[in-house]
Symmetry: C2
Subunit: 665 residues, 2 copies
Amino acid sequence: MPSPVEDIARARASSTVNIEAVRSYLYGGGDKWKDHEKVERTLASDPVFEKSKKPWMSRQELFEATLAQTSRIYELEERLSWTPEMTSRALNLLDDGTPLLLHHSAFAPVFASQASPELLRKYGALTRMRGIIGCYLQTELGHGSNVARLETTATYIPASREFEIHSPTFTSRKWWIGSLGSVATHGVVQAKLILPDGQDVGPHLFFIQLRSLEDHTVMPGISIGDIGPKAFNAWGATDHGFAIFDHVRIPREHMLSKFAQVTDEGKYVRPPHAKISFGGVRSIMVTAAGWSLAKAATISIRYAHLRRQGNVDSSGTEQQVIYYPSTYYRLLPILARAYVFIPLGDQIARAFTDTVQKLAEGNTSLLAEMHVTTCGLKVLTSTATARDIETARRSMGGHGFSVHSGLSRLYGQYLPATTYEGDNFVLDHQVVRAALKAHAAVCKSTAPPALSPSAQYLRLLGSPPALFSGSWTDPAQLALLLEQRAACVVDAYANSVLSGAQDAGASNRVSATVTGAFVAAQVVEMVKRLPMAGLATKDIVILSKLYTLYLTTEAEGALADLFAFKLLPTASSSNHDPAADLRAAITRLCLDLLPEVIGLTDAFGFTDWQLDSALGTQDGRVYEELVERAKAEPMNTFKVTPTYEIYIRPILQRGQQRAKRDAKL
Amino acid sequence: MPSPVEDIARARASSTVNIEAVRSYLYGGGDKWKDHEKVERTLASDPVFEKSKKPWMSRQELFEATLAQTSRIYELEERLSWTPEMTSRALNLLDDGTPLLLHHSAFAPVFASQASPELLRKYGALTRMRGIIGCYLQTELGHGSNVARLETTATYIPASREFEIHSPTFTSRKWWIGSLGSVATHGVVQAKLILPDGQDVGPHLFFIQLRSLEDHTVMPGISIGDIGPKAFNAWGATDHGFAIFDHVRIPREHMLSKFAQVTDEGKYVRPPHAKISFGGVRSIMVTAAGWSLAKAATISIRYAHLRRQGNVDSSGTEQQVIYYPSTYYRLLPILARAYVFIPLGDQIARAFTDTVQKLAEGNTSLLAEMHVTTCGLKVLTSTATARDIETARRSMGGHGFSVHSGLSRLYGQYLPATTYEGDNFVLDHQVVRAALKAHAAVCKSTAPPALSPSAQYLRLLGSPPALFSGSWTDPAQLALLLEQRAACVVDAYANSVLSGAQDAGASNRVSATVTGAFVAAQVVEMVKRLPMAGLATKDIVILSKLYTLYLTTEAEGALADLFAFKLLPTASSSNHDPAADLRAAITRLCLDLLPEVIGLTDAFGFTDWQLDSALGTQDGRVYEELVERAKAEPMNTFKVTPTYEIYIRPILQRGQQRAKRDAKL
């Protein structure tokens, strides 16, 4: 029987993928890959970033180890003259996150974009250089998704020209604030602004000092603590904390007042529009989803190549698990989604930069579209990614349940993406609302309406589509079918809303359909752009098949609607499955792609250090790795477990005596 | 705004469910509930079983705490004269499992049913009284699901009348064996039996001593260790271990030889039939799934009642989250599945007892049916349960990601049920194979065929069903529809197999369809049996609606097939959803049930100790509980984190200096 190492080597040799070219495509250019490689290799070779003890660390130990790593990254940044982007790459390579991530991704951008020039003069450089470390205090014990109802108050006191930050109720304490528990010196507090006349003008942002810069003790009037461990022991390195403010005064200038302001006398000056403070975190979440899927696909596909089990060929050799239809049917679509989400994320990040730039010029035209796109994509990609990581883990059978598989850690760490930056349950409603609004506009309009990208599918409204008789391997036809479906679903839903019909599951279903159509159209564009990415024809063919697999899998998920709205013909006879052609196409695409999947996963460029998975090592020595890692289990340091004397021996002795009595009876 | 405590109290008061009667129905009789209550109250009031420190325990600490609890349960068993069933209830109340569970559920039953009378005389009482502690050594590093290819050998040596147990390869070491790592003194080893002439007659079971009964040291020739932490830190209290055997001799009598035997001279005596050693663990997994869902439903539904967020009524009060369609549409079907799986599990456990009894009389007629039923139900219930626990957790938003939600622990602990006792991916094939076999038999048969319960749906084969025009609230019609669907799907799949069509996703889809039809038929029987369970009409109406919700939800999941095979009419116009009636029926059922759901979850009889969830307490004081539990976080013992001096301060100081330099430039 071939060894795992031979199995992986053979699969690698059989792949025709040009790793370098595809990798450059995924990284958005060879230079970015080189930056990434430089940073990654630096960390991987530095013992500070060693991972082998992590499964046994307490939270405090993991927290300390992570701060040591963060501190080292900043040293390396100076010593090796890393760009801010390279530092950010380094911080994102820390599997368990770091409290400082929030400083870079939440505190600093908000501060930079919304502080007054005066405040920026005082704290801008300190923020950029990490002379202060900030956190973003939004959610409270009693309120998360409904920012409008946060209870913390910021009352303006004209006499002293100060705001008084206060936690008026038990549930108003800030809660779930990353970096607050032990690390942050400063923060931006979301609090409802109360004017001197008692008027509440809703939530605004205030800059506040949390800890002394002398000795790190908490400032007077503030109580701070850590909220405790998270689900699955994930995010253990981050000090999510709580804070209670007891009439804490801050100067008037500490209101982030680039837009809304309060005058010395306490008069409120409105911001130009409501959504000005929308953050950019959602816009980078698509990319993060893509790379998480890339890890899950790499580990599970490698393992499925070297694990042999079950069916036996004529020479008595068991089959590689990857060749079971139930395996490749589950794993290859995950690979396809990784290849979709990564470039899609780059595209959205660029669009976000555009939007911010336009916004800075006072142009808000892109804002609504950006909002609905990032909401929809955040839900779609995070839902799919959490599900897929677990599917990949489960495909690895028993060993998949070892912590050393690496996928449970990835799952736990990824999972809150379904909840933060807008709970997926809640964001669905935003997507549906926008869809209904766009639908109503199209219905009212007499001329062909101007449709934003997220509503393009509505161009198909009213032209009752013919039964699909296209090809299941043509991306454009597949995307058109998914757009037609979205048009039907939204049209039917809009009508049902008008008629007062009740459908409790609608928001989730409609939202997924609408965003699915948007992504499908983007995938067609990705296929079109492949020749511009410096790829050889051979690689373009492979990637096109992968993208087609994405679309066919989406079509299979849409079958209920496709039949319901007569976009596909139903059964001609009772024993023929009308979806058989589609399913055969999916199977054929998988079979075509199978010889290439090791190459396609290698192209992600992960090292063993980065994956930290006994089951997904580059060379396939997984069994040796599992045995090696078992040696590190502290319980194996005992020749006889200390619990023997205390508990096991008494149980055995009592049992032996009872058995003896039993025998005598 | 009403307080959480008031919200829960009001919901509880509004429910008309007769808690006692429904609880008795769920527990299979009032006596069983009383047994359960007695055991549960005993544990809950004993400080040994206190749970508050668990989130911070190392594996070794959790292992020790669990053995202390196990030992206490055995003391209580003696002192309070618990029946074995009550002891088993107590052990099953330990959230993290216990190494001794394997002794009771795997080792002892196999030993009792398959050891020779001689071996039973010697070790039977010791096993029953726990004078020895056993484990079950089956899976190896290289093989799990394919038992036939296990590599460990048991070679018979006629000269000394011994077997030599040996691990001949790196991958043949036993791996993932619960209770082996530190606890077990004995074990049953699955090894391929090699006869003196070199013939390999496949896997058989052998009784072996692993550790000394004097001092617990590992016996000569055996190497044993713990395999390390599991995914999500779950099952941390169980010492899953590995073992390597180096030519270890055991007496001939130590082969579990009630069925297959080897004579003194080394002649092999075949067992009466192949599947004789099929275990009963799968038969109790349905019940376990049901009670896990019950916990998830209780915690999430309670929390959704007291969490207020979002929409505001005229008095400024925010809406209880449970009244959002996207919430109740997700959570109420979980409650329904709990109410289906619990009695279904009891039914399967009884059927298993029947099968075993018949088997003891040499009657194997029920074996094949039992096998396919337990395979199918194991896949269906474990897949649904793992998914539903996570859905419930996610419905609780940010706080759902706290370890104190209790649902991440439940998820991690439940999750391996999708893998052990036959990987779900693999069991699907068994179900499909049985379905194709039954289908072929029906097609060949001229007379109306005798169909086993799992194949009842095939009675509908060949009678092309009319379009459904029934009522979405009639369980019998819903079940019939799901059975018709199964008949169509299997018929079409059988034909596609004959025609060589490829469909890589088939096994999972077909298996779920077939088992789904079986469960649907059982649910109709459950509804019919409600009047015999001592329930008042009012409660029968409520439970019937819950069961109907189960069936309608299943029908919604089956829509693609229902349309494809013309069991449901497709759209009459392009803007009408032909599934609207079904979806409206689901929504109406949810709305009807909403006032009763707190009563229906109370009927599970969980105490706060048992749930161990800050978010699911009986009285609704969740915010106080979250704050209380945060106090226990060890990181909060520091006024200033010790990492400040080592890492944070240097980062800040460097930043401050750089900012100063920056200002000077």
